[in-house]
Symmetry: C2
Subunit: 347 residues, 2 copies
Amino acid sequence: MSFNIEDHPHKRYNPLNGDWILVSPHRAKRPWQGQVEKPVVQKRPKYDPNCYLCAGNERAGGKVNPDYKGTFVFTNDFSALLTDTPDGSINDGELFQAQSESGICKVICFSEDHSLTIPEMEVSDIRKVVDLWCEQYSELGENPAINYVQIFENKGAIMGCSNPHPHGQIWSSKGIPTEPSKESKTQKEYFEKHGRTMLLDYVNAELEKKDRLLDQNDSFVALIPFWAVWPFEAMIISKRPVQNILELTEEERSDLADIYKKLTLMYDNLFETSFAYSAGLHQAPTDGEDHPEWHLHMHFYPPLLRSATVKKFMVGYEMLGTPQRDITAEGAAKRLRDLPKIHFKKN
Amino acid sequence: MSFNIEDHPHKRYNPLNGDWILVSPHRAKRPWQGQVEKPVVQKRPKYDPNCYLCAGNERAGGKVNPDYKGTFVFTNDFSALLTDTPDGSINDGELFQAQSESGICKVICFSEDHSLTIPEMEVSDIRKVVDLWCEQYSELGENPAINYVQIFENKGAIMGCSNPHPHGQIWSSKGIPTEPSKESKTQKEYFEKHGRTMLLDYVNAELEKKDRLLDQNDSFVALIPFWAVWPFEAMIISKRPVQNILELTEEERSDLADIYKKLTLMYDNLFETSFAYSAGLHQAPTDGEDHPEWHLHMHFYPPLLRSATVKKFMVGYEMLGTPQRDITAEGAAKRLRDLPKIHFKKN
Ligand SMILES: O=P(O)(O)O[C@H]1O[C@H](CO)[C@@H](O)[C@H](O)[C@H]1O
Ligand SMILES: O=P(O)(O)O[C@H]1O[C@H](CO)[C@@H](O)[C@H](O)[C@H]1O
């Protein structure tokens, strides 16, 4: 019997953040008697008088939303980072080190329509979200006190999202956050060695291998990375090496909207539910330097494992030992790829 | 206004795993309209005919549990790691790397009494759990195919635990898992530089500073580490530098049982609920080498934040940027320290 990654427990290496993950392909068969999530209620009104993100409504802080159509951005009423934090640090020996951190946090409403989600929006309307990301990345990035702009979306109550109105967030900061700074390091090393971005080589290899591909258009590929941790973790990677979203052409912006919809629609169709995830863009820091090593991509971390109500728990061994998954990346990709391309609600 | 860590957003450094974490002390005030967990049902029978861990019952795999009293250990019927995995690896360029992984997974029942949890058990009965950990660490560690023995407990449905019967697990492996291998590296560097273990210096500094201490006995300290990520994350650290649990004296084993109960009892009393957590021992690898740099400790990662039903979600910014917490370690320690020392159910 010789080792193969379809059947045997193994570790895979994530060259983008330098971590290993454990894969136990045989383990999906174990019975589940644990926690069952509430299925997502499918029908929401287009306007909810109690939603603090709907147009015209009052927010928790007392401010009133304008009567917006399309996208709408505002500074988070409960920002984790603030602009007026004094500089400073604590260096009480090697074991007690702290540094002040400042930044700007924003909320982005994707649409005035409370009932929608990305996979149910028109590509032309998602394009408006992409345009707003570009505006915000540019505006925040030009601020000398902001060196990283983290754009993300938490979707679904099981992903800590406290409001089902379609929206995302931006947390921008003086410091470069942990994950992008790991990716900066690995991408830089690769670029210095090969003269090409790591993700350019990676995406081309995956286009050839095909077994982890989910979908593609002229400008972007959606795939399950070889080193995925979450059961249906995915990435969207630009086919062309671009450092950040501002380098995208008009057509490429629309293609990003298109692939964002295609991937999240597969997700919804997998268990015929509004599929929860955290997703976000990783791109070059806005520290005023050129970053030819940085290759724009988006990560998707969805928790569901077996059904609309049974998720993967990253606990115990995952927290104390090594992150672990119960199905292979290839198996997950095949399941998503083979789904119908029309949203289940329209059937 | 000068920078201080009680009021201002800041980053703290974790010297044990090399990561930074973001602290937003002002953020606990934001309102919560998100997911609410099911409160834990307080009363369970001493024996449940449907529990696959109760004495005399049949397990999912068809095996029957003996009529045990006290602790009981068996090989996990759905082990993530197996002993017969063939050796091998994949090295398809820098971007596609995998290695076979093998090991032995076990389940440890803490008591025949289905209704109990660690904070409700007698110290003398928890001591039997510590003794079983020692036996297992010794037996598995002597196996030349096992280089790390990860002992842990997932408690509570919200921590992915599928059975409320008091139990823990052991996943032992040929490879050294990610977290212990990061801690090996940092502890080794520290030990080579100072000739003392990092956690000896750390625990002594905390005993002097006092503001993050929770409790102590002759042999162990329970505290909220300076770099805690989860709201009430805690550590138990031995006062004396010991590499692994086999080096503990009889008295120290009982003291470990005692502090394990004291900490989890504070947890239960905080929100007057059976407090969920993942916890586990970190100790020297069983790779046949001497590890003077390794200092035995136990991590506790509990998810609850505001009440028995509202947890912290590590999502979005935490996954894509930097782990973030909404209260300070010092504030969390004070709240736990000030609680009554008798279990709320006994009041
Ligand atoms: O082994 P169990 O209890 O079935 O499963 C639980 O613990 C494991 C080890 O921490 C995790 O991998 C699982 O996600 C979790 O649900
Ligand atoms: O900002 P929100 O939606 O209130 O909160 C949510 O997203 C944040 C950023 O990912 C997390 O820190 C919170 O734990 C989560 O509940």
